[in-house]
Symmetry: C2
Subunit: 499 residues, 2 copies
């Protein structure tokens, strides 16, 4: 066995432990009864410790050194695989085991506490848990940063999207921060001239689910290798051959659950489409969070909120809810108006694509200050309110549930994740613009409910490539240039200000 | 830290890995889409290898030696805990890691294959997988037996119920084999004189579930620390604070699903009632499979098929299915007759308590021959048919689905498990007879739907004791004597031949 082959075998075992972790994380969010929480947090932290032990076994270090010395004999996939192994090793060895175990325990305990406290707006109970978790994450950022020559926040961001730096994020966000407010006003002004007809509920949950299943199956979600369930916070988890998406339902409105399903299906299609030849190897994984979000947002925003998609879907939605097809509220155009409604609101996950980046900018600013120590946890509510007022003109004073307690991320220790949503939106717009150039008749195919041309293009260019090249090289190869805000802005103009 | 304390810490980590394994096993049976099977089998076998590595770490061996040398300073619980740790260590170190990993992979692969093949009666596809699995299990039995001074089958049986020996099983089974045929004829003769009124379906699944949830909640199943789902083969899994039971529904008959839920609730109450002070330690686990089955059968057979229980439950069942309460088919007596219907059939899990031991005797005989090598896998179908004819007067020739392909056990590698069902039935009868003597007004409480006196007696005597003493000592302490067939026979006579 060559050193490289020995590494493949090691990393296969590691990926099995990650498989175990992924299914248990899904279970914790979608299935576990509340009483199971404390024991689960203990079990998962022990597992994290064992995974870390395996990742940092000195044998891997030796093998990496040998394999990197003779990398010339490897093909491109193997070399990329070796690079990813090297990265895993560096990140794992930068952290002591105790910190990994303590972080996992703190993250799960804090998230479980948040889940209980959010409906009660009980900030005082969750606050100390978040403080403890933040201190551990800050320490992790410091140690990773030291090892990689990055600042703590840079290092955390890099764990979610390799090579992504806060200054690039800040540059794009400044651009959007300049563009969006004026654009938003124009859109709102236009919308005032075209009032929406309300869609009358209630919408029984089993019908919402059935409509969702029909549409996501049409997109290509493979139920033989996946599931759809309910969770507090929608997500896509599991592993490529067992991909689990979740949504959440409310009976008075079907759009949040449906758009949630379509969004998670974008993630799922990416995961299910990863290169089968590289299962269980680091190079067979998805690229970082920004590219993952680009796949969900390409599906949700670019495809499923388009007129072409509604030409296909409107009739299925009407049938699914058994409504009068002649009712003008259920016309394609009124449904499209609902799908593309722009309205500044409190909740990020319910936000339209125009105001969404403003929610992200808020979180990006605050989490950098949290990691640097410039902002204390106890000051989050006020800082949140202030930012909401300046960015979206809304106050969250006295409304923690829809303010700083709305998102699971920080309570689960995911500092550095938020920016990837908006980077994903930019990437999605850039990729989809290219897809429309390269795939002949793409809009017409979507109108016919024929998604294979799009999926096949994504499989070839994105999904099937795993981590063969990083996000920037991928974008350059496919679209001819690095990430830019232009395609996103063009998309917004075309969708919200044209005709 | 004393050596004993260091061991507690080690075994806490081991129990966390077992927690992980338990939830994933449940998931595999109740949630996993079929396409996830091969990857899951790989992941679980890697996990089994890591668990084995941790169980056999030389450090544990050293600590055990030291702690056993100074066991005098420990209290009774700690000493029992140390004994259990010692047993874990002996059993784990008797097996090489490769065999553990290969067995887990073979068991999951074979079970997944069985699941696919059973409806198709595709014996030829599953047979070679079973042969491979059997050869690994035989090797495990040999190695365990060598280490413990037992025969291979003895050793396998001992893994499911510590101290249980095949010759004791054989003695009890010979007794039952003598008693049951004549008894069965008498019961069948009596039943012919009291024809059943059929219960007219269909019974929608959501209603079956609602009735079940109402009844198992009344028994004391704690949904804050548990779930109820659907699986191919009903079981109780998970961990004490997250106990997961499953059932399966058919629309033409509600009794199999309902009795399945009540049965699994008996297991679940045991698991949820294990001593909280000893969570994550071997002494805090349940005793072996026979005692576990005694708890499910005590609940299902002794309690829930009794007249007293139906005095409480009949009305809830009628309301749950919205039937005419004056309909004589739905009278308490006719429902009771359904609950206690005796009828030789093909399927073990659907069998009444009179014929059930005959199904177990068949499997006990065949699996001993399989492990000893006297019976080849390819000869199972014929041997099964022959035994069914002699024991139950039914032929399974050409009916593999309801013959040797009906049970998951062998296909999951569980050789040595079957006898514990009937040992459990005997134990249940013996325990319940004592409970009725010791708990004043027990029948009347059950009639009122008041299960706390019974549960509290079980908590005190069985559940809360964990593995403080073995099954035989437990039975002697509670009932004054070792396991006997007499209470079971008395129970059968009282239920089926009295009045």
């Amino acid at each position: 066995m060559t050193p490289y082959e020995a590494l493949e075998s090691h990393f296969r075992d590691l990926s099995h432990l990650e498989h175990v972790e992924a299914i248990l994380m899904w279970d914790e969010a979608a299935m576990m009864p509340p009483g199971g929480g404390p024991g689960r947090a203990q079990a998962m932290s022990t597992l994290a410790g064992i995974l870390h032990e395996q990742e940092t076994s000195p044998e891997i270090g030796d093998l990496l050194e040998q394999a990197r010395g003779s990398a010339d004999s490897l093909d491109a996939w193997q070399r990329a695989n070796l690079d990813q192994m090297w990265r895993c090793w560096r990140y794992a060895t930068a952290l002591p085991r105790d910190l990994v175990v303590a972080s996992q325990l703190a993250a799960m305990t804090c998230e479980q506490t948040w889940r209980r406290c959010r409906p009660l707006e009980d900030w005082d109970t969750v606050r100390p848990k978040l403080e403890h978790l933040l201190s551990l994450k800050r320490e992790a950022g410091e140690r990773l940063g030291e090892a990689e020559g990055l600042s703590p926040y840079e290092a955390l961001l890099d764990t979610y999207e390799e090579g992504l730096r806060p200054d690039l994020v800040a540059r794009h966000f400044a651009d959007l921060g300049e563009f969006l407010p004026g654009f938003l006003e124009e859109v709102l002004e236009r919308q005032r001239r075209h009032p929406l007809l309300p869609l009358q509920g209630p919408f029984p949950i089993d019908r919402q689910r059935a409509v969702g299943v029909e549409l996501i199956s049409a997109l290509g979600f493979d139920f033989d290798r996946g599931r759809l369930d309910i969770s507090h916070h929608p997500f896509c988890g599991g592993v490529p051959d067992d991909t689990r998406i979740t949504t959440r339902y409310r009976e008075d409105d079907f759009l949040p659950a449906l758009m949630g399903m379509l969004h998670e299906t974008g993630h799922a299609m990416y995961q299910q489409g990863l290169p089968a030849d590289w299962r269980d190897q680091p190079v067979g994984d998805a690229l970082g969070a920004a590219v993952h979000e680009s796949q969900s947002l390409l599906m949700e925003m670019q495809v499923c909120r388009s007129r072409a998609f509604l030409d296909f879907a409107a009739d299925r939605i009407r049938k699914g809810f058994g409504v009068d097809t002649a009712d003008p509220a259920w016309s394609r155009d009124n449904l499209l108006a609902h799908h593309t409604r722009v309205c500044p609101g409190y909740i990020r996950v319910d936000a339209d694509e125009v105001t969404y980046p403003l929610h992200v900018i808020l979180r990006f600013d605050l989490e950098q200050a949290l990691i640097s120590g410039d902002l204390a946890v106890s000051d989050i509510p006020d800082a949140w309110d202030e930012k909401m007022q300046s960015l979206l003109g809304l106050s969250t004073a006295g409304n923690l549930k829809d303010g700083c307690m709305q998102d699971v991320h920080w309570y689960a220790g995911l500092f550095g994740y938020f920016p990837t949503y908006t980077l994903g939106a930019l990437t999605a717009a850039q990729l989809f613009a290219t897809a429309r150039e390269q795939v002949e008749g793409l809009d017409e195919a979507i109108r016919q409910g024929e998604f294979r041309p799009l999926v096949s293009w994504l499989r070839t260019n994105v999904h099937g490539k795993g981590r063969l090249r990083n996000a920037d090289r991928m974008l350059n190869e496919i679209t001819g240039h690095s990430l830019s805000t232009e395609p996103f802005k063009q998309h917004l103009r075309a969708r919200y200000l044209a005709d």
